[in-house]
Amino acid sequence: MTAVTTTVPAGPPAVPADAAPAARTRRRSPSSGGNAPYLFIAPFYVLYVLFMIVPVLAAVYLSLTEWVGLGTPTFVGARNYADLLRDTSFRTALGNSAVYVLVSVLIVVPCALLVAQALNARGLRARDLFRVTFFVPMVLSPIVIALVYGLLLDRSYGVVNTVLRALFGIGSVDWLGDPTLAKVAISFVLLWRWVGYLSIFFLAALQAVPRELYEAAALDGAGALRRFTTVTLPAIQPVSAFVVVTSFISAAQLFDEPYLLTRGGPGESTLSVAMFIYRAAFERQQLGYAAAAGVVLFLVVFVVSQVLNRVLAIGRAQ
């Protein structure tokens, strides 16, 4: 720096004497710290671009092409999207995914809250045992779950029907073969698998609610239900909102349970949108079409999530 200042014969106006420390301060500030900050954050962004941005752009590009998985994709414009609008299969998949979302948000989340409330009760014995019991389904492999439920729900030789036959004489319920019951069976597995996991979030939130609030409500004469609605629910609202949004996103992209239990059947009665995409890409070699369905799913999930974020005021100060 010294060399530069001395070789400029008639430069800009002279720098005031008291400006020198300020200039040094600016040079040390993060905003003028050279490349170091970018180097520090570069690993994340390089990976983010490689494994997130590029695939997303590739999917958008693919959705405008017809591609069987080999050779050069043929550009077809918006034809894949137009076909999706007419595809009864896609509409069925959207409807089924909507059912899974409703089950997840309206049944699984409230059940998780109730389980958490029970686990948070004072004087509960073997609390840790209950927590582990509820959490175990989440850490089990989906393959194991599918095998076990396949054996439990088999129409002819399943355990559930055997028990029903022994107790009530109604032992031929086609749990996985009837279009309606198959949805019920998958919804039940969703409930069984996710309640324990979500209840951990609720439990953490419940334990953070100040006891004084409950004591004050009790002094005001509030009963258990009143305390739950006026103290508990408002206090855990941020966590509830987070759980609702993440449950929505997970359910909208549901794949494991219907794929492993029913393969989307009978017919297409349990086909989810994620399965539709998989089927188009990896069973029918319609990769452009699958990409278009993926883009539609992304947009739906993104828009609804944003709406939920605003409605539930996630991340905003109360």
């Binding site: 671009v49 299969s89 129409r155 009978p266 017919g267 070699q285």
Partner: protein, 449 residues
């Protein structure tokens, strides 16, 4: 002229990233297997073999010393076992990557249909038509069609999977059912119904579980026996035909009269329970079902089972059908393509190898002349009470129906399996079910995707 404000560093970064990604996309998507290494013409060669079945691994490995005598190549095999659906996906992924494809791959027949879309077969597989032309009619033509496209053969079938009726001889004797095949299914259903209504015994099983391939195969077997097919030789849908309606009506009749049972898995727990309990005394399935369905599930019933030709449909047709199969192919544009094609041909298409394959795996020859082999005709099977099974196969092999594929097989599988279940449960008549499936199929294939 005024110019806008200079872009900020952040904007430049954004534009740079988007531009780089956009520039990289076409290259990433269009990369194909174009390998430029020199072709191996003789000498040592290590071939990558991908298959979904342990039996093929053993057979290929054991065959190498036999087939390389008199060959220009000295083969080594590097074997990878992959699930049948994943195998196709991984082959395509490696082809797009431009590296890592196998030299030889065994494609399960249902998944081979995926390769028929676009130009995949032409770009990926060695044309084996000259092998077919050399062998002429001795190569069973019905087993050539499933692995052909536009008149060119791309894979050699590992099997001629003739459908027979497996039956419990002890139970048939006990129940007074004829051990000779009745002339028609109608006669069989009448006789069997009398027993099943009394004892609850069933004489056939139809898959109704989540494996759509099994559901489809349950219908495909009687359909082809009746002279029909899912697609014609040109790949056009042919399920709205009298043959298809008769085949479905036959299954529905058998189920509703209690002669046939429905199971969720033709290979696992539910069929095992039915077989073990003795509730299921007969099943009509391809030749390989002896090794994959019956023997593994009920080894303790050795000596009690027999096979025989199927009864004919009342309106005619043949005494057998087909189901399943695996086509072995060599991948083109690779240094080892020539050696791979030779290996596939030598392992599969010499009479001696076909005899060895039947003895090792139970897969039936695809050369017609081998069915007259005295050794095979005299070969008794211990599990089947010493019955010389080839006497039955040789009797029906000339009635083997053709099996046609379409790139849209997966779509049909989805729409038809749901309609079949509706028909089995009486929610739709056979004609309605087939018509519904055909409409859905046309709806889903309206474009050329």
């Amino acid at each position: 002229m005024s110019i806008g404000p200079s872009p900020t560093r952040r904007q430049l970064l954004r534009w740079g990233l988007v531009g780089a990604a956009a520039a990289a996309l076409p290259g990433a998507l269009t990369g194909c297997a174009t390998q430029t290494a020199a072709a191996v013409r003789s000498g040592d060669v290590t071939l990558d073999l991908w298959t979904h079945d342990d039996g093929y691994i053993t057979f290929f490995t054991d065959s190498v010393p036999v087939v390389q005598s008199g060959s220009r190549f000295r083969y080594e095999l590097d074997v990878t076992k992959i699930g049948s659906a994943d195998l196709v996906t991984k082959v395509l992924a490696q082809a797009v990557a431009g590296t890592g494809t196998p030299d030889v791959a065994g494609f399960e027949i249902g998944n081979f249909a995926r390769l028929l879309r676009g130009n995949i077969t032409e770009e990926l597989l060695v044309d084996l038509s000259d092998v077919r032309d050399r062998l002429g009619d001795d190569l069973i033509q019905a087993r050539v069609a499933p692995f052909s496209k536009d008149g060119r053969l791309y894979a050699l079938d590992s099997d001629a999977p003739l459908v027979v009726q497996y039956y419990r001889e002890d139970l048939f004797r006990e129940d007074g059912l004829s051990l000779e095949t009745p002339e028609t299914w109608a006669e069989f259903l009448d006789a069997a119904e009398a027993v099943s209504s009394r004892k609850g015994t069933r004489y056939g099983a139809v898959g109704v579980g989540s494996d759509l391939g099994q559901v489809l195969q349950g219908f495909q077997i009687p359909l082809m026996q009746a002279g029909g097919n899912l697609f014609d030789a040109e790949g056009r849908l042919t399920i709205e035909t009298p043959e298809a309606e008769r085949a479905l009506a036959f299954l529905v009749d058998g189920i509703q009269r209690g002669v046939f049972t429905t199971v969720t898995d033709m290979y696992g727990g539910s069929i095992q329970a039915a077989l073990k309990s003795g509730e299921l005394a007969a099943v009509s399935m391809p030749s390989w079902y002896a090794s994959y369905g019956i023997q593994p599930n009920v080894p303790e019933q050795a000596g009690r089972w027999r096979i025989r030709p199927l009864p004919r449909m009342t309106e005619g047709g043949s005494r057998t059908s087909v189901g399943g199969g695996t086509g072995f192919a060599a991948l083109r544009a690779k240094p080892n393509s020539e050696a791979a094609a030779e290996l596939v041909e030598k392992v599969y298409l010499s009479p001696a190898q076909q005899v060895a394959r039947y003895k090792a795996l139970g897969y039936l020859p695809t050369l017609r002349s081998v069915y007259d082999d005295p050794e095979l005709l005299a070969l008794g099977n211990d599990y089947f009470g010493g019955q010389p099974l080839f006497e039955v196969y040789a009797e029906i092999v000339d009635e083997i129906p053709p099996y046609y594929q379409s790139p849209d097989m997966s779509i049909l599988q989805t729409v038809l399996s749901g309609a079949l279940l509706d028909a089995y449960r009486g929610r739709r008549t056979p004609a309605e079910a087939l018509s519904t499936a055909a409409d859905a199929f046309r709806g889903q294939t309206r474009s050329e995707r």
